[in-house]
Symmetry: C2
Subunit: 419 residues, 2 copies
Amino acid sequence: MTSNSAPPTPEAARSAGAASGMPKVTMIGGGQLARMTHQAAITLGQCLRVLAASDSDPAAQVSADIVLGSHDELDDLRRAAAGAAALTFDHEGVPLQHLRALEAEGVAVLPPSKALHFAQDKLAMRVRLAELGLPVPEFADLAGDRTAARARLAEFGAANDWEIVIKAVRGGYDGRGVWLVDGADEALAVFDEYPSDAPALLAEQKVPMRRELSAMIARSPFGQGAAWPVVETIQRHGQCAVVLAPAPDLSDDVAKQAQQMALRLAGELGVVGVMAMELFETVDGELVVNELAMRPHNSGHWTMDGAVTSQFEQHLRAVLDYPLGNTAPTAPLTVMANILGAPSAPEMSMDERLHHLMARMPEAKVHLYGKGERRDRKIGHVNIVGRPGESMESVRERAERAAQWMSRATWTDGWDVHS
Amino acid sequence: MTSNSAPPTPEAARSAGAASGMPKVTMIGGGQLARMTHQAAITLGQCLRVLAASDSDPAAQVSADIVLGSHDELDDLRRAAAGAAALTFDHEGVPLQHLRALEAEGVAVLPPSKALHFAQDKLAMRVRLAELGLPVPEFADLAGDRTAARARLAEFGAANDWEIVIKAVRGGYDGRGVWLVDGADEALAVFDEYPSDAPALLAEQKVPMRRELSAMIARSPFGQGAAWPVVETIQRHGQCAVVLAPAPDLSDDVAKQAQQMALRLAGELGVVGVMAMELFETVDGELVVNELAMRPHNSGHWTMDGAVTSQFEQHLRAVLDYPLGNTAPTAPLTVMANILGAPSAPEMSMDERLHHLMARMPEAKVHLYGKGERRDRKIGHVNIVGRPGESMESVRERAERAAQWMSRATWTDGWDVHS
């Protein structure tokens, strides 16, 4: 693997850890990813420090080391970083100039700003991937002069029979900042109505796809890489709903190709920590890169119960330049299903719903985030580890049934859930 | 299973939970058991509240809900219990009269004081077990008038060829409060030198034993019971060093007998939560009850990586009257080895030792407690989950090698470790 980078290492600040002599990691953002990273930190003899907006954030509810503040404020970031061996992220929203300032002050920002740039800026990512010869959909840059950009959109759309998607270059997640447009009029309307002071747009070819995959890997500053099995992700309403691990009926060659692409890219960009490379598998069986996330990712939640090393422990190992843990699955099949806020919160409390689920499915591994219920908000997930000889369809049915119950207090008989 | 008890249930205080609507559990004591219970609480959408003596206690380092105080002070216990759905324990040291006072005030003390009594008082436990027809070693009560008690010791010792052990009725753990005496002179000397204001003593027949076992079970207020596989525990210097799960070469009948004894006793005593019944397997293959612990226990640490449901999650489920989780092992063999403080702390930091272990053994599951290093102090543990077809001897060798390294920064080639 090529490594063209020497990111700052955590050695310098290492001794400034807790009384136990273990290093301190700071995570920016107090969401569920930080919450679950804290669980992993406890095992490693640490306590995760979290920069959270509120003490009711999922991670702030459970960690003993909370810095309240904003990820947009350099001073808050500085306070959170003080004495930490590494500074890392629960989300991609931290302004890059702040991270560069912290790096200049000697903070071990991991992944480093120069890598994180490509997770924050979808256009830069596509340009860089294309330079590296990695497969990305055709795309058009819609930044700059509005009139010229509109003309580029019209040209790109026509060239692709208007089978295109419009995306904000920055700030989108879980389906936000993505417009699935149906034809020229709708595409141009999205462009025309888009505020000129918002992040730039790009247009992208809609890939004729069979399904979505995710290749989750980790990379340490030392340059060690580790890949979990490639998974299939099932999206609903533009966000991840279900993850099948490993991706069913995926050839070893294609799986290996996806892992190699992710490991190579992480090396080229100087990524440190875990990284999810979201991929389309086209109807022709080709792989195309869709998105990158340089942090623990929804497509890796199955590793908490289905792999020797979870993505959260691995992320800590990587940012601390520990050797990486074994990524082998502990069972042939694991399915993760997100628990989403229902259109209207069920009358039955979450506590009671959990009680009933435990009675009906003693083997379900439920992970709750301590979040209030809002429509389609990710408030938890369920992992089901397959029984010996069980089919993926059966494991998935159990996982979806459990998640559906936790979301809505209704049992379904199958997994083909539409809302 | 017989249940002659109706312990207070957590329903009343249940709605007084966190913003997320999940219940709050308070654990008395801030040690590693509370630390690991907090990890399990996070998964269930909760944050464990901990009554800790110091904010550097293992659990206080990592939980967002710490009450500083003493388990000997009723007011501190009250503060910790306020608004909690259940009050439970990291150790057996809380004065029973305080727990009775809390129960009278409506606190759901789980296990209830009437059950916990038998885990606190070894004499009461032996008397009760004998009444229930459960096998205990012969014993003699050495409380009361010193002269009469000394005569009882002399008589009991002679009747057992001085193959006896002297134990403090209360307060012993990890080999403290236990005297392995060699002959009449030593036994009588222990008795004569023992302070008259300390907890009473008892003498007990030294059982000709093949090995020690532990039957770990859980019981809910509803009366549901669940048993993990019976394990073998290997003691060194009077404390647990290694746990083999399941106990090798244990017949199904004897294993089932141990589980049934533990489940029956939990029902008879009204235990709520997890309970470890420590047993001797005699040279004749009989089982004799040695000790009881009504809390997560060292002999159950293997469940964190080797069973579908860990003892920590199960304890929370039980005290909240949730249905209990699946206790099935996730692998044929798991071995736990304690990481103990070395006679003199190694020059290499714990952080560096962990680094090296991860490099050498990527599959080791290390759990660190955030404790300072002191000779023979339990500061962490390692779980090794066996590979398919691997022998128990081989899994054990890996676990002992890992734990030895973490303790002393020296590698051993075998597991026959003496210090």
